[in-house]
């Protein structure tokens, strides 16, 4: 199993999107402190408030910015592309067949691919944490909410596990990189629509049944809320164990689904 993980890690880090993604992580990590300093020095006014008041100048602030920018879209897209390539892509170009001719059970191959994806994700997070941290300290000194921010980075990795799991599930179900990317896009849009619907229901305006309103207000098992898990430990948010639970349910459920599908799959 260790060698399978090694093989998948080496292969993943040789892929172009993986390298671009890590470059992007460094760029985001460096960009955010620079932007923040620039905004503060220029005395920019945002929504009628001076930037200096808007963003307290503390070294962990750029790291929070970088994490937010990362979670917004691009890095998740790279993670999805890598997940699609490593499973659907390898079914399509027949290299998974060559791998499965080895005397290894299929579940181990799937787990090795997941571990490789998460390794890449963790390396990206660490790079961003270090780059934005060093620049933040350089600009603003050493004070700050370091524990919360570090925790936010760790929780982001947890949330990304759910995203990676869902990507692998869609990849083995569709067996096509394009269909995986499209499927994930549709899933994220549907998820967003479901989120709005739940928000509307949770106001009690549509359905008055208190039981339904209560469930809707908790946003159970929604990918978009799971992806924001890292934010929930930052100031201004309330940490919610239910979102953490949702991440766990999504990760475990999608992986189980992917395992069952892969076990029975005919590999061309």
């Amino acid at each position: 199993m260790t060698l399978l993980v090694l093989a998948e890690q080496v292969k993943l880090f040789r892929r172009t999107p993986a390298r671009l993604g890590l470059g992007l992580a460094v760029m985001l990590g460096a960009l955010m402190p620079i932007v923040l300093v620039a905004l503060l020095q220029a005395g920019t006014v945002i929504f009628g408030v001076e930037a200096a008041q808007h963003f307290a100048s503390e070294p962990t602030r750029p790291m929070i910015w970088a994490l937010r920018a990362r979670n917004f879209f691009v890095m998740h897209a790279v993670l999805i592309v890598l997940g699609a390539q490593t499973l659907a892509g390898e079914i399509g170009d027949r290299t998974l067949r060559e791998a499965l001719l080895a005397p290894v059970p299929r579940y181990q191959v799937l787990l090795a691919k997941l571990v490789a994806l998460l390794t890449w994700d963790a390396v990206g997070l660490v790079l961003m944490f270090v780059v934005s941290g060093v620049l933040g300290i350089g600009a603003f000194g050493l004070d700050g909410i370091w524990v919360s921010v570090a925790l936010a980075y760790v929780l982001t990795l947890v949330a990304d596990t759910a995203l990676a799991g869902i990507t692998l599930l869609v990849a083995v179900a569709t067996r096509s990189v394009v269909a995986t990317l499209g499927g994930l896009l549709v899933a994220l849009i549907l998820d967003m629509v479901a989120g709005w619907a739940m928000f509307v229901v949770s106001t009690g305006a549509v359905v008055r049944d208190p039981w339904v309103v209560e469930i809707a207000s908790q946003h159970p098992v929604l990918l978009n809320s799971v992806l924001g898990l890292g934010n929930s430990v930052l100031p201004g948010y309330a940490f919610d164990t239910r979102t953490l639970g949702s991440a766990g349910v999504l990760a475990a459920g999608s992986l189980l689904g992917a395992l069952l599908l892969l076990r029975r799959a005919d590999i061309p």
């Binding site: 060698l3 093989a7 080496v10 005397p103 005919d266």
Partner: protein, 299 residues
């Protein structure tokens, strides 16, 4: 000889069509087994089922004495259809991947890679990306990948498909040397019968998913009929009439060539023609080949 591979009643359907239908197959250790059949006979499907790439509906597979579907692939290597590589990596990096999957690592993997590259003659090109490889090179690299784990049995699915004559000869020589020098049991599927006849000692002929004939090449080539001779003679028609019908059957006459069937040895045919006043310019046995057997079995 103990069995390297035993397949019993292997069945796989796609919808209502049975691609492999209660197939029985037996390969002995040391065999070079030719797995024959027309296109679409179920050869590749059967090999995929045996190697666990696709589900089987029924049947048992014992491979190198093991029935566990994962463990039995230890000691087995295969090339199924066109070999696939991660084309954005070099040949060496591809072999590393395969080695890790096969449980090799560190310096023993490095040594194994050097050994197999040497064996297939790709040492000079090992650090190029496989994207630029020709079909023949890909086939050789695939063999190298198979040999990494020093397998006891090799499955080759149409290994010479798409190769030029030189590439086909290379592949044939390689398979032969793997069987002879390395003692690897080989199962090779093909519809190129001359090729199979040249390298295999046993064959199985399948059609529509079922085994139609199985045995050693020598046994299959033996015919129930009397031997046939091709005879050339200036006055062929007269000879055909003069030969006594009780011991010689003239099958056909074509210009100055006769096809004569007889239980007597060739010398007797020659002497008899001479006694009758005919001089033969050629007398040659017509040997059955695998193609004849193949067409008879499928008829």
């Amino acid at each position: 000889m103990p069995q390297a591979l035993t397949v019993r009643r292997l069945t796989r359907s796609y919808g209502s069509r049975k691609a492999v239908d209660a197939l029985d197959l037996e390969v002995l250790e040391g065999d070079v087994y030719g797995f024959l059949g027309p296109n679409g006979a179920g050869k590749t499907t059967a090999m995929r089922c045996i190697l666990g790439l696709i589900r089987r509906d029924e049947g048992e597979v014992t491979l190198l004495g093991d029935t566990d579907p994962v463990r039995q692939r230890r000691g087995v290597a295969a090339i199924i259809e066109t070999p696939a590589f991660h084309d954005w990596m070099t040949a060496r990096q591809n072999l590393m991947q395969a080695g890790w999957y096969g449980g090799l690592s560190g310096s023993s993997l490095d040594r194994a890679i050097a050994r197999v590259l040497e064996r297939v003659g790709l040492v000079d090109r090992a650090d190029e990306r496989t994207r630029g490889y020709s079909l023949g090179m890909r086939q050789r690299l695939a063999i190298a990948r198979c040999l990494l784990g020093e397998p006891r049995m090799l499955f080759l699915d149409e290994p010479t498909n798409g190769l030029d004559p030189a590439g086909m000869k290379d592949m044939r020589d390689l398979v032969r040397s793997l069987a002879m020098h390395d003692g690897i049991t080989v199962l090779v599927s093909s519809h190129l019968l001359a090729e199979v006849q040249a390298i295999c000692n046993r064959v199985g002929i399948i059609d529509r998913g079922r085994m139609r004939a199985e045995g050693t090449v020598a046994d299959l080539l033996k015919s129930a009929d009397q031997p046939l001779y091709r005879v050339r003679c200036a006055s062929a028609v007269a000879l055909a009439e003069a030969l006594p019908a009780e011991s010689f059957t003239v099958e056909s006459t074509d210009g100055d060539v006769l096809l004569v069937r007889t239980a007597l040895p060739a010398e007797d045919l020659n002497r008899r023609a001479f006694e009758l006043g005919f001089a033969l310019s050629m007398l040659a046995p017509v040997e059955r080949n695998l193609e004849d057997v193949f067409l008879e079995v499928l008829a």
